[in-house]
Subunit: 273 residues, 2 copies
């Protein structure tokens, strides 16, 4: 999917919501466990209930990989079930030397047909570039994450006084364009999002950490929105585990709708949609 | 596998060779393509021909992931075929927030039964620790890699004058111990290995980049060996693709033997085995 289509979807749905499909067999409602593929059945119903309010789905690959080949089958079926108008993110945090990153790109962009993949920057240019060679596919590079460990290295200042995440943004933004690169920017600190926005004014940000991880949606929009929205805000647990009874999908739909409505207000406020 | 057993194997085989099972359907001999599972058949024959000379096998997970669920099946069968006395490395370069890294750990240490996994450090402590909670399992953390892109961030100096890889070594070496952590240290620069050895005198290093990537085995041993060897030196393409005819396994065995014999000399020289 290209940037123009993504922005069209955002305007049409008045939403920049991404639903994280972090589907855990230990957390899905008991009545689904008798299905042949409980993970897929859960995802299917979540997608049915939330697709009206969301512009992106993001399965975290670890949840599927932990289940072995069965998990990969559930993932593939889930991906095929997602309507083509919705942006898909393989939250895989891959990255390896050039010829190996090419294989990961092949796995997620060809064997599967994801629109984008999250990539870790530590190994530098040749670990990222192979993902950028696919038309209308995206790299979403880790810049500033929202977890505790983000403080260990991402904020380390260089001799020139730049924190590492800034070095990552400045260098990597030259490897691709705002048409094929986004950044993961944690939502737990509003002023940090403003700092990142200054460095890369045009790129989309994938923002985790709203809800369960404690970030504020209003702050994210205030500090992070640009003229083409430039934001995909993810919620996983807050939506997909809103209930663990038979009404789980309905409850997920309600939570997604609630976030979408907040987002519509913010889009009106900052973009006059 | 624990450190003591690993060192016993090194002494017994007079080898610190790791064979990289980067098995690519486009590169394996044509006569194998008629097999039900050509990747597994290739790996099986490579393992038969090289196991006498090697103490570790390292499948790079990208090669299997690129093939979809069939690839994961080939990987699982390969892992089961490797003799239990040989150390196994899932070269996966994973790493995510805490609860997600736990799932990756489960995937590689429980669903599969690898001894170790390579992990990327960018997300910090909570992305690494979940892997350290498994008895006799290892994290092999990226420190200084051997690819072109390693120069982008790993050598960036902090305000205190430390390159990022040093920060990674100093901090992360407190998260685990030399009994459950190793480091990836590229072999393309001998003097760099000496620098890393000074910072973490006890840890094992997984050294890629000997052979195809241009590093010298003698330099690696000279600058990197410690009193318990402390080295696993990987060769992938130079061994597994030594021939692409019907004699591929025999040719691989010869290459592995050649490296093992060089290693025996170096172990004699530095450890008087």
């Amino acid at each position: 999917m290209n940037r123009k289509t993504l922005f069209e979807q955002i305007k049409q749905k008045k939403s920049f919501l991404c639903v994280g499909l972090d589907t855990d067999p230990a957390k899905i409602p008991a009545h689904l466990l008798k299905e042949a593929d409980p993970i897929y059945e859960f995802n299917k119903q979540i997608i049915d209930a939330t697709q009206e309010y969301t512009v992106a789905y993001k399965p975290n690959i670890a949840f599927y990989e932990a289940l072995g080949t069965k998990g990969w089958e559930s993932l593939q079926k889930t991906l095929e079930y997602i309507p083509k108008s919705i942006f898909t993110i393989a939250d895989a945090k891959r990255g390896d030397i050039g010829n190996t990153s090419s294989l990961y790109a092949k796995a997620f962009f060809e064997t599967m047909d994801f629109d984008s993949i999250t990539v870790a920057p530590y190994m530098g240019i040749d670990s990222v570039k192979p993902f950028l060679e696919f038309k209308d596919k995206w790299v979403i590079l880790l810049a500033l994450t929202s977890n505790e460990g983000s403080m260990d290295f991402q904020l380390t200042r260089s001799a020139e006084g730049k924190p590492l995440f800034q070095e990552v943004l400045e260098k990597s933004s030259k490897w691709g364009t705002p048409e094929n690169m986004m950044y993961v920017v944690g939502a737990t600190r509003g002023e940090k999002i403003a700092e990142v926005r200054k460095i890369v004014p045009e790129h989309f940000f994938l923002v985790p950490g709203v809800g369960a991880q404690g970030g504020s949606l209003k702050d994210v929009a205030k500090y992070g929105m640009n003229s083409e929205c430039g934001l995909l805000v993810n919620s996983s647990r807050g939506i997909i585990y809103a209930s663990n009874g038979e009404d789980f999908a309905e409850a997920a739909g309600k939570e997604a709708k609630k976030l979408q409505e907040e987002m519509a207000v913010l889009l009106d406020k900052y973009l006059s949609l």
